[in-house]
């Protein structure tokens, strides 16, 4: 299965590249992954995934449940390290540097590659403390005023400041679900990451809150590389520039979003986006 998957993944990649070149866009890869395999104990969850993720753009991972898209996302900031028995092979380059090399500090990596989770998970602390926590532990602020500036700036970028500016001292857990998720985004961008990974950030939110987050993702694209895992193909189509389709741990196809949704190169992608399985 391994050998069968490899070439196909590579083909898909080559396809995607060809499309990118055809469109004439100069692509700069923020993250380059080659032959990534992931295992949970004996079970292999990813098979030879190779992909380039563009800087300052949104890449969406789609695919049916259990296809490995979240696993792959969590490989990108080594969150899989925290799972007992998880093992990852292959090469992951973040701006040219291997993120799995022993000399790399995972603490630094996770500051550079932030993450937003499926369920909003603010700390049970005040709104201010939620955002200030990252800069504080990484020593990014040199004074109280500095810290405040970072917090206010992050909340502004996350589009949350207006709603919370007179209650920064109140607990972050008291906000609505959508606000909590934007607070988590503010928390992630407070440490000025290069990449933001989002693991189904809207699956627990109502449509209005989802729309706000999608707008926000679109704005954040200017400054950050964003990778988003989503179950909603409409969402992928709306927010992303490039889309990768995963199936059974294999990266089936990766390319420009418009091309994936209108003219997929693989039959399985075709079946999935037309709703025939998954």
């Amino acid at each position: 299965m391994n050998e069968a998957a490899g070439p196909r993944g590579a083909e898909a990649l080559a396809d995607g590249r060809a499309h990118g070149e055809q469109a004439g866009a100069a692509r700069t890869a923020m993250i380059q992954v080659r032959d990534a395999c992931a295992y949970y104990g004996e079970k292999q969850a990813l098979f030879d995934v190779s992909i380039d993720i563009d800087a300052r753009s949104v890449t969406a991972f789609i695919g049916p449940s259990g296809c490995g898209k979240s696993t792959f996302l969590r490989c990108l900031n080594r969150m899989n390290d925290t799972i007992e028995g998880a093992r990852v092979t292959g090469s992951f380059l973040l701006a040219g540097r291997d993120i799995y090399e022993p000399s790399l500090d995972v603490v630094e990596l996770r500051a550079r590659v932030g993450m937003v989770f499926q369920k909003p998970n603010p700390f049970p602390k005040s709104i201010f403390e939620n955002v200030a926590y990252g800069p504080r532990i990484h020593g990014l602020a040199h004074s109280k005023a500095d810290l405040e500036k970072i917090v206010i700036g992050s909340l502004t970028k996350a589009g949350l400041l207006k709603e919370v500016q007179d209650r920064l001292g109140e607990p972050g857990t008291g906000l609505s679900g959508g606000q909590q998720q934007r607070l988590c985004i503010a928390r992630a961008i407070a440490v000025s990451p290069e990449v933001i990974l989002m693991d189904e950030p809207c699956s627990a939110l109502d449509p209005i809150a989802t729309a706000r987050i999608e707008e926000l993702i679109d704005e954040l694209r200017e400054n950050y590389t964003i990778v988003i895992v989503t179950h909603s193909m409409q969402q992928a189509a709306r927010v992303s520039q490039r889309t990768a389709f995963f199936h059974l741990g294999i990266l089936v196809e990766e390319g420009e979003t418009a091309q994936i949704f209108t003219n997929p190169g693989d039959e399985r992608t075709q079946d999935y986006i037309t709703g025939r399985f998954g």
């Binding site: 900031n77 990596l109 700390f123 532990i137």
Partner: protein
């Protein structure tokens, strides 16, 4: 496609269906009834325990006193050295003043037995503290001795034949005379809490035991809390899962179930005989108790850590917190209510533990509260044990009263646990 499945209409109102529903409701009610019965049994047993303790113990909270005028004459007590006076004579004088017709030395000796043996020291202490009284008269309430305390409380029946009771007709007569003169009173027995142990029930109190228990629990807490929390954090957050950690877990659970007397033997063999630490000391008591409390704290702390939602851990790690930062900043604060509750319950268990303390000699007869961790001392449960072993009638009620005091401390600790849990509980 729908046509291929034959659908028979369901009748919800047939007799059979109704009977089925009735059975389900009956089962519901039965289950509730079982629960209520169980709770009633538990409350009933508790009520029996407390009632019987109060029945036997309540009289110990009151102490019969006699108020006498003590003539502190310069003949017996010199102003130069009041501590060295002949206070026994002062007591005898005070009693002779009440009963001038008692003349023979034998009768006088019996008369002096009405009031507690230690009355001479009580008078001395007052005189030493206030030498102005020398040459004058000192009015003081002193406890009556145990048989007369029992007589006053109605535990000795004066109508019984004389040879079947501990007080003679003559003594009953003296006591009744004092009572008629309004000199007998029965105030609250603060001595029960503030006196140290004594051979005389009318003087025996729990202060030594309370202080000893406090020191022991302090030592126990200082050892088992940091060690227990640190061990639990390591096991829960750092230790690799595998056979070694499984074996460790089984052993910790076993440790929590080891009979406490075994820990006592270990304390005797290791702390006393090998390390040569002093016998009967609260320090050793606390060390032995911490052996018992440690596994409890490890188990509850692990449970509390496990209960912290993984999303909080991910949030902290995702922002680049190190594991230490994740644990100290986020996981432990959320686990604090559980840890504190478990710790206090563990300490409450330790407070009631008797067997290991007996083995390291904390059932010593000590007549003053310990001044430090190395002084000989008793603890509440061992004090109760000793009193239960004493033959004097007055110790029967004091044993029950001691148990009530111990229960009061246990309730207090559990209340503190509830308050702390409420205080630190946070929602997310």
């Amino acid at each position: 496609m729908a046509g291929t499945v034959a659908t028979t209409p369901i009748h919800w109102s047939t007799a059979a269906a109704e009977a089925r529903r009735r059975r389900r409701h009956a089962a519901d009610r039965r289950l509730q009834l079982y629960g209520l019965t169980a709770i009633s049994i538990a409350i009933g047993l508790l009520a029996i325990l407390v009632t019987s303790l109060v029945m036997t113990g309540h009289s110990a909270f009151i102490q019969t006193m006699v108020t006498l005028d003590f003539p502190v004459s310069t003949e017996h007590v010199s102003a130069d050295d009041p501590a060295e006076g002949n206070y026994r004579a002062v007591i005898a004088d005070a009693l002779r003043a009440q009963f001038p017709d008692v003349e023979s030395p034998r009768e006088a000796r019996q008369l002096s037995k009405i009031i507690t043996n230690n009355a001479q020291f009580m008078v001395r202490d007052v005189v030493v503290a206030d030498p102005e009284t020398i040459g004058g008269t000192l009015t003081l309430s002193v406890p009556v001795s145990d048989p007369f305390d029992q007589l006053n409380k109605g535990y000795i029946d004066p109508d019984l034949p004389e040879e079947q009771r501990r007080v003679s007709d003559q003594e009953v007569g003296w006591f009744n005379t004092l009572d008629r003169r309004g000199l007998i009173s029965a105030p609250l027995n603060w001595g029960l809490l503030f006196n140290a142990d004594s051979r005389f029930p009318e003087l025996a109190g729990l202060s030594g035991a309370i202080v000893g228990s406090f020191y022991s629990l302090l030592v126990c807490f200082l050892i088992s809390f940091p060690a227990g929390v640190a061990a639990a954090v390591y096991l829960e957050e750092f230790a690799p899962r595998g056979r070694a950690s499984d074996i460790l877990e089984v052993n910790i659970n076993n440790l929590a179930a080891v009979p406490s007397i075994v820990f006592g033997l270990l304390g005797l063999a290791v702390f006393l005989n090998f390390f040569g630490l002093p016998r009967s000391a609260p320090l050793v008591g606390g060390m032995v108790l911490s052996l018992m409390t440690l596994p409890t704290i490890i188990i509850v702390t692990r449970a509390a850590l496990k209960a912290v939602p993984p999303s909080i851990r991910e949030a902290a790690l995702g922002i680049g917190a190190s594991r230490q930062q994740m644990i100290v900043h986020h996981v432990l604060p959320l686990a604090v209510p559980g840890i504190l509750t478990g710790t206090i319950i563990g300490l409450a268990q330790a407070l009631g533990e008797t067997a290991p303390l007996l083995l390291i000699g904390m059932n010593a007869f000590v007549t003053s509260p310990p001044g430090g961790l190395l002084d000989a001392s008793t603890a509440l449960p061992t004090q109760i044990f000793m009193w239960a072993d004493s033959p004097e009638r007055g110790f029967v009620s004091r044993t029950s009263a001691g148990i009530l005091v111990l229960l009061a401390f246990l309730i207090l600790m559990n209340l503190v646990a509830i308050v702390l849990r409420r205080r630190f509980e946070r929602t997310w």
